[in-house]
Symmetry: D2
Subunit: 305 residues, 4 copies
Amino acid sequence: MSTVREATYELLRAHEMTTMFGNPGSTELPMLAGFPDDFRYVLGLQEAAAVGMADGYAQASGTVGHVNLHTAPGVGNAMGAIFNAQANHTPLLVTAGQQVRAQMTMQANLTNRDAARVPHPLVKWSYEPPRAADVPAAIGRAIHTASLPPKGPAFVSIPMDDWTQEAAADGSERAVARRVSGRGSPAPELIAALADRLGRASNPVLVAGPDIDASGGWESAVALVERQRLPVWAIPATGGGRLGFPENHPNFQGLLPPAIAPLSEALAAHDLILVAGASAFAYYPYVAGDLLPAGAELVLITSDP
Amino acid sequence: MSTVREATYELLRAHEMTTMFGNPGSTELPMLAGFPDDFRYVLGLQEAAAVGMADGYAQASGTVGHVNLHTAPGVGNAMGAIFNAQANHTPLLVTAGQQVRAQMTMQANLTNRDAARVPHPLVKWSYEPPRAADVPAAIGRAIHTASLPPKGPAFVSIPMDDWTQEAAADGSERAVARRVSGRGSPAPELIAALADRLGRASNPVLVAGPDIDASGGWESAVALVERQRLPVWAIPATGGGRLGFPENHPNFQGLLPPAIAPLSEALAAHDLILVAGASAFAYYPYVAGDLLPAGAELVLITSDP
Amino acid sequence: MSTVREATYELLRAHEMTTMFGNPGSTELPMLAGFPDDFRYVLGLQEAAAVGMADGYAQASGTVGHVNLHTAPGVGNAMGAIFNAQANHTPLLVTAGQQVRAQMTMQANLTNRDAARVPHPLVKWSYEPPRAADVPAAIGRAIHTASLPPKGPAFVSIPMDDWTQEAAADGSERAVARRVSGRGSPAPELIAALADRLGRASNPVLVAGPDIDASGGWESAVALVERQRLPVWAIPATGGGRLGFPENHPNFQGLLPPAIAPLSEALAAHDLILVAGASAFAYYPYVAGDLLPAGAELVLITSDP
Amino acid sequence: MSTVREATYELLRAHEMTTMFGNPGSTELPMLAGFPDDFRYVLGLQEAAAVGMADGYAQASGTVGHVNLHTAPGVGNAMGAIFNAQANHTPLLVTAGQQVRAQMTMQANLTNRDAARVPHPLVKWSYEPPRAADVPAAIGRAIHTASLPPKGPAFVSIPMDDWTQEAAADGSERAVARRVSGRGSPAPELIAALADRLGRASNPVLVAGPDIDASGGWESAVALVERQRLPVWAIPATGGGRLGFPENHPNFQGLLPPAIAPLSEALAAHDLILVAGASAFAYYPYVAGDLLPAGAELVLITSDP
């Protein structure tokens, strides 16, 4: 078990985001408590300076920049510089502190009432997690979203009492190891690497999503499956309107169960899970469990950022 | 005929808003060209200072403050101080320049793409008029909205080529003379003044809206009409679901036509038009004309700000 | 201790809102489990019908109507009828189910991703509570907001696993007993009732907020305090920019501490707490405790809905 | 000169979008007046049916579907089905009628007050043009946006008096002939086609934008320019923070003037304009003229949808 703070710093480390810019206040102190030695915090005396430094640092370093702001007024002061960052296509993680959860609904002082709505017009994704446990996953998605082309800022609001809570332990911490091409394109070297990975897998499986058919890939999917002798599962209709693979094909295994634990069991023993043409996955009932079977890697080919 | 610029300065004069704070750029120059001698412009070198001065000035003077910003980055820089103004319940007109209309859809440089959405979470009303001719009416509504309790900021985005266009000439310039109690309450002295005005009218008329019934005022409306021997018109159902007055009452004249010119003709010769329980008026077909008959005054009792 | 479901039904009962309209799906089942005998649920087969019935029922009964929808598609289908409800000035509580909190950030199927943003343009308040414990308080505020003039709809999104969690036990359940004039006006009979209540109090206190000065009430506040021999506390500057009462007045007690437990202690032994010209209260550090001292009633005169 | 209606139908024809689904009202009549013989209109008796048909038609036909709605209530009723369309990744043009421009600011009946905000959470782009003349360009962009991966709906609100106005005549009607790969990827056949096009050009030119450097393409750009002996212009800094090409290179011509007519003059005589790493173009002063020199084609390589 790790705390939200520990899981978040680990995530930032994995993305080489150990430089943080900001102009913090009291709502950011729990994030900064026990600040790790391998990180540095560069203080700006006004938010425009802090965001501007993070913007330039991201452009020069090739990493996603990180700027840390102080609840509603801090985000407000930063909006002009966030406008510049989106115009510059700069990948930027913008985080802001928030009241403790117990005092948000009563709109106590320093509550950022419209936390996600204020930066929304200028960022690619704007979010306040519904539970403390989700903060690392939300920051992970913000980094991911910011780094996809066209690059830009993404925002996460974090209630100040979340940092000492327990992080989720469902395997979502593997998001730390997520790699994204960052090009939005099937570059030849990526295709070659995937072919190689597929060749080395001992027990690969294809999960076929609705966009295979939508993008005209029906016959290519059948050809791939037959050449590689892959078993095939399909995403249930709740994940989109179409079927991605012929149900009467001998390799077809059926529809994946739409819940975490059963889906992970259905894919057990596979070391490579290739999902194509889908958002992975369309869970509905909540049945807790590991997101992936032990030892499995997942490769996702999708148009859904 | 007057230009948008002339009509706007006349409107600001009528509200004693002859002090303007701001940090302008090129998109604000057409507003400032030929700046009138009886106005003063107080320059802030950063938007937080300009908004803060306007906020304090409004609080100290009792007028609606006016701050003038430079398209998207100016509004962005000001957001922290606009947050303070709404927390202070300060009545504030916030205006920002915008690209020329011909270059907005192509998102030319300095286009404020989300002009109304960015300040929206922090202001009481956020608007970009669909025609140059409507700029003075939009500014008039922003001033009105800002000054109703709880007071706060209101925002208007103004394409820079609007200032030299012709203002609307349908009588909406009389909005300059609009008086609002600013208390949101039927104070005894206001009731007395209205009774007196009704007594002095030579040919008054009641327009009955749906909220008369919704608020339990059906019998009071009948009593008023019989005591004052008022003719009564009703607002058509397109203005809300209910009828505000008994259709079989001898004083009932029918439903007002829902278009500008015919409605004005239907109320011709009345010197006092008392509208109760409605938003005045629910036009649908566009039949251009004067908003009110010549010589008429309109008093509106409404819960709709 | 009571569950969110128990506290919510108790709140609805106290507002005489025992008729619910809706078109539920699986995400609403936890709300409907153990549906109380004194409530009835009127089913609509499409959302437009469910909202329309709730709208008409509210108009005819004089209560706040309640319509219950099914996550994103249900709210989507209802938007046309919600538009009508706001045009009708109908007080309406709109609730919608949501995924379990653990599956929201991963955007599992049936997650209402933009739960508060979709209805936002058509309602007076749109909210998704940051904790299960806050659901009753959020619904209470939605009812309150919907019933203030101009009346209209208000929206709350409720994660489906919240209903069986524990409700907050800080005294906020007293919100059940909250009475609102619903007129937005200092009607003579309300003033008289307040004067009577003040006369009967054994140990009343005034809490003076910044809007006393902003609205020109400085001298009236001093006169009231001296006539009634009231002790006076002020709201700290974090609750707005101005002081509401002269600090050098002999009755002045100081600034209230800005945290729940100490503030409640500072006001201990008072049986009537009259707050004027403020939003009550501007807490910042989170120090848990009862919101009010035992036995105290609070009367709030404010322009903040 | 053509009217907005003529230009729009011509645009829809060019995209093979001659089937329209909808549930129109009076605000859509000016669009439907003189409905062309080569189009068909499929009526849905409720908006969910109209959107659903358009969604399925788009999926089956491979074109962008088109659904036409009736101002605010029509869009409201359609929101549930628009939610489905975005979940399905269906390319969909959603248009809705609006009051005449002269009656929008007064919020006359049938005004869609929050026209762009209501569908915003469910669509990829939501817009109401600031001038009648821009309606065809706005519809063109909506079609373009809807058809880029991940595909989805896009929305345009159209004041009902716009249809008979004159369309813009600045060359933007060439947008009719715009071709988009729809894959978001530099597929080998597209690269080959571009190389061929470059080879056939008699007088090509490169316009270098800031994302050439941001994406690590500096040396590739120099190599291309030297191999093809291309003159190079750069986008001024107002179009993004970086320079896209070495200013001291012998082929470097300078910064393009940031206004329509002078920019077109600077590129005169070129038959192929290759823009890389930029949003084309960052105009600021408005100097009317043709968007491109006579006879020129423009190819744009960009991450900006």
